[in-house]
Each structure stands twice: as C-alpha cells, then as structure tokens.
Subunit: 329 residues, 2 copies
C-alpha cells in the first residue's frame, strides 16, 4: 500500500477500535462550559493518559467511580428508587390487607410531608417491595416502571433526567481507556434495571446496596430469590468498602455530590500517584434544583467543607454546565 493509503487504513482501524474519534478530538465535553472544572478534568486526563508523562497511569489501573443519585441523574424531590418503592407499595397493597394498619398510614404521612420514615421503616418498605422474586424479575419490574413513571416537575421519564455533561464525561473517560463504575447508595439491582445504554455501564460494573439473594429450587428449577434482609448499605464508608469487594482497586477518579460520597472521595484521593475527586454542587434552582447543607435528600455539607483541602473539583451546575439534561427527542 502507498503511505497515504496506509495512513487512511490506520485511521479507519483506530476509529473502529474507538481509540480516536473525530468528534472527540474537537470537544469531548460540549455540554460543559469552559471554566476551571472542565479544564481540571481535561488536564488530569491528559496527564494520566500521555505515555512518558510522570503521571502516566497504565490502562488496567484507570478506574473511575460514579455515584448515581444527584451525580448522574436527578435525585430531587425524592430518590427515584423511593418513588418506585412507594408506587410498588400502592400497586401491591390490595394483595396485602396486613399493610392497612402498618405501612399505608406511614405512607400517607410521608406523602403529606408529616412523617419522616425511620431507617427501619425504609427497610420495611424496601423489603416489602424489593423481595420474594428473582433479580431478573425485579429488574424487569424496574425497567418497566422506568418506561412510564414521570418526574413530577419536569414531566419527563427519569431516564431522561440524567445529566448530559456526565454522560459525555462517562463516554470520554471510556474513550481514554478508563473503566467506568457506578457506585450507588441505591440498590444494586435497581441500578441494573436502568437500561444499559443510558450510562453504557455493564451490570458487572455496578456497585450498590444489596440484600441477601438465596439460591434455591422452585419446582425443581434452580432460582435465586431476593430476600428482605439488607446485606450491605453502599453509602458513606460502605462505598470504599464495597469498591474493594467488587472492584479490588482504588479508583483514580471518583465523582459524587453528597456526604454519602465523602469516604469514596477521601479514599480515592488518598492514594499514591495522580488522583481526582469531583463533587457536583446543585446550584441551579431554575434548570434543576439548588441544595446542599440542609437538604434532606443529597445533603452536601462535610464533603463541601473538605473539598478545598483535598483539592477536589467542585462543579457548579449553574455556571459549569451549558446543558443539564439531554435534549427532548
């Protein structure tokens, strides 16, 4: 082949394996405004992926972990999984007369804002709606619900209320050799019920809270059945603990938005070599929500205080993000 053809051939090959992208070469993060947050990301990724750089990180070590609620999708006014659980409770209630005096009064109190559920009550609600079936059946229920349930304010599907800038970041990092993991306080199989194409993260790269799943035979067929007991809460210190269990490597980059992500960011950025921590700060009441220190959902207080001394990047949604959600189709 002539050298021109050879070069064309090489380019086609590289495009095929996704090592280069013409669009990405222009601007991999088009929904991010030019500013310190975007610059910090681009500069960090450049230094850890440039061969010969003193901060070069080999591909197998390029691990990036993302919180889900408030980091990848909207968590206000309620965590999506909680809305799902309450919808399920209402749907299942006719078959459970025993809930009449226990769960349902709590529910109406919660809905009117008069009652705040205790952790125990949350466990009961989640246990009642998330157990007794196989994980596959549960994921089918979740993905079915996600096809119709709409956000009360935006009147869009929850899967349309993912953050466009973060979708671009996930894809950009993968294009740079990173493995992207979701590390969510939400249930591991609830997150796995979100269609894979939304985040581009396969089921085995999802870490989350979990209940015990039990292997047993039903009608001579081996099945796994979701139990009601909570096995692991993937929040706060549970995040680095579960990262160790599931991933077995300290992340190079970690992304969160609340105090539930504090220990994940602490542990990530305490590692040797280049590390990157980022907090999404919800500062945009107009386009999304504005909340931090006193929020009941997604409280961001200690982590915000610690960000400067740890060198964590704080994204201001209002100024750093050109666009919040994907365009309506």
């Amino acid at each position: 082949m002539t050298s021109v053809l050879l070069r064309q051939c090489l380019l086609i090959s590289l495009l095929q394996v996704g090592l280069v992208s013409i669009a990405a070469a222009e601007d991999p993060l088009p929904s991010w405004n030019d500013g310190p947050a975007k610059q910090a990301i681009l500069q960090f990724v450049a230094k850890v992926t440039t061969p010969g750089s003193p901060d070069f990180v080999p591909v197998p070590d390029r691990i990036a972990t993302f919180d889900n609620d408030g980091t990848l999708w909207c968590e206000q006014p309620s965590y999506v999984q909680w809305v799902f659980a309450v919808d399920r409770l209402k749907e299942l209630a006719p078959q459970h007369p025993e809930w009449k005096d226990t769960l349902l009064p709590l529910l109406s109190g919660e809905m009117s804002g008069k009652v705040k559920f205790s952790e125990h009550e949350i466990a009961v609600v989640v246990g009642s709606t998330h157990s007794g079936m196989t994980p596959d059946e549960f994921e089918t229920i979740v993905s079915g619900w996600l096809k119709t349930a709409k956000h009360p304010r935006f009147d869009r599907l929850y899967t349309e209320l993912v953050y466009q800038p973060m979708l671009e970041l996930l894809a950009y990092l993968r294009g740079q050799g990173f493995k992207t993991f979701i590390v969510s306080g939400g249930g591991i199989d609830f997150i796995r019920g979100i269609p894979e194409e939304i985040y581009g993260v396969p089921p085995y790269q999802v870490v989350g809270s979990s209940g015990r799943v039990k292997f047993e035979f039903r009608d001579d067929i081996p099945v796994l059945i979701k139990g009601a007991a909570v096995q692991s809460i993937d929040d706060g210190p549970g995040k680095p603990e579960n990262i160790e269990l599931h991933i077995g490597q300290r992340p190079v980059m970690a992304f969160g938005n609340s105090d539930g992500d504090l220990q994940m960011l602490q542990w990530t950025t305490a590692g040797k070599g280049p590390r990157f921590g980022l907090l999404v700060h919800h500062t945009d009441a107009e386009r999304e929500y504005a909340y931090d220190r006193d929020s009941r959902v997604g409280k961001l207080n200690v982590a915000l205080d610690q960000a400067p001394s740890h060198g964590w990047t704080v994204v201001s949604m209002k100024t750093d993000w050109k666009q919040i959600f994907p365009l309506e189709k």
Copy 2:
C-alpha cells in the same frame, strides 16, 4: 482503495481489535486432544458467536465463569491458599506466643495427617493470617509468597501449575467476545494476589469468599482494613449468589471441577437459550492427580452424577489434555 486493499485493510483492522487471529484460526486450543470435550467447546462457541445463528448470543451477554482450585490450577495435595495460610502462621508464630497452646498444636496434627481442621478452626487460621492489614498489603504478601513457594511434588511455583489447556480456553473465549470471570471458593483478595497476567482476568472480574473490610482512619489517613470475620463463603450455593451480586448476569458458560461448583453449573445451565457447563475430571495420577468421589480436597461426586442429565461436558484430564502445565521456561 481497490477491493484487494480494502480487504487487507479490513483484515488489519480486525486483527487489531482482536476479532480474528491467524493463530486462533489454526487451532485455538492446541493443548486439547481432538475429542468430544474439545469439539463440544468449539461447536458451542461457534453457534453462539455466529451472527444469524438461532443460538447467537450478543457480546454483552457472553459471560463465562471459572472456578479456580482444580479447574485453573492444581489443588492437590492441599489448596494453595491453605499452604499459604500455614506458611504465614509459622512465620507469624514468634510474634504470637498465645498461639502456642491453640493454633500450633492443631497445625502439627494437621501436618501429620492426624487432625482434620473443623470449619471453625479453619476460620481461626485464615482469620489470624489474613486480617489486620490493608487488602493491598495482603495482596503484596500473597504475590511475594507465590514468587518463592513451591509445590512439594512438582517442585515448581504454584503459578506454574496452572492448566495450559484452560489458559488457552480463557484466551480463546475472550477472543470470541466473552468476559471471563473467576468464581473461586478461595479468598477474593488471595486470588487477586495472583499476578494478573497469569489468567488475564482483572481484579474486578474476580469473585471469591470474602471477609468484612472496614474503612477507618489510621494516622489521619483513610485506609481499608481486613477484618477476621467471614462475610461470604463463595462455595456451593454461594457461587450463584455471589455471581448475582458481583456480575449481575447469568453466565452462558461455567467451568468447575468439584461439588463446590455444582450449584454454579446448575444455575448456569438452567438459563434460557444456549448454556454450557463443564467439569474437569482429574483422571491423571501420572501427570497430575486422580481423584473424585472420596477426595478430601476437590471432591467430585454429586456433580459427576448429575453431569449426563444436565448435558455437562466432562473433561478427562488424562485423555482430553495433551499437556497439563505450561512448558518449563
């Protein structure tokens, strides 16, 4: 480009992305004798990877799980992790006078074959030698030990007593779009201490037994510390349960060698669509070991009985494997 050049270009591209390999096109499993086991593997992989085939399995669903002890490496006369634990116990004993009347007598009884450790005692030995440090420190201890400890009969490193036919199988399946996972009864971070290049399986694709790891601060630095308490035994029914937790998908292919793999194979092959289960039967006392129904280590009894009715392939090490271990360097 001319069509010839275009074809060359396409071939180069495919070679680069690993979709085809000239060597693989010749014989992807050169250490397997031609016989029913090898044919079953090749025919199964061909039918699930051929586009348009009624049994075609999309790449994201191509999950293959491998037991480790006795399936990927030699487990006789003792599980390698047990040899490691005993070595550690002896090494640490001078710093632990309290072991003199408890652990060490058990140890000498065990070594002379007079005593069989109870599950509780095993937990004590493993807890004493596998806790109190960070997972990174532990993996460093393991990988250091693996560099020097030798098998009593073969006088080779344990990492040289991996099965060459299974290494070829791992690489072949990955080349066909499968994700290969290790699902071991051994400790998850013990397996992660085996150098990654041996099996080509990254840490986040290792599933195993685990102890609780705790996030805490030591000298103001966040660390994860391995606790002594066992969290999950990845054996028997624990295998499908942990596959669900870690992988979140039912495997398409599962490989084991003992009754500890029974439920993993049952669950795998009970799935809809094409599924493949395989048992390595240790039938070669001369080149390795011959054992099954009455073996203390790696007992294969119920699973062997169930293999025919489930359609599981049974590999006879003696007749199906041309070569057992990698050639000496």
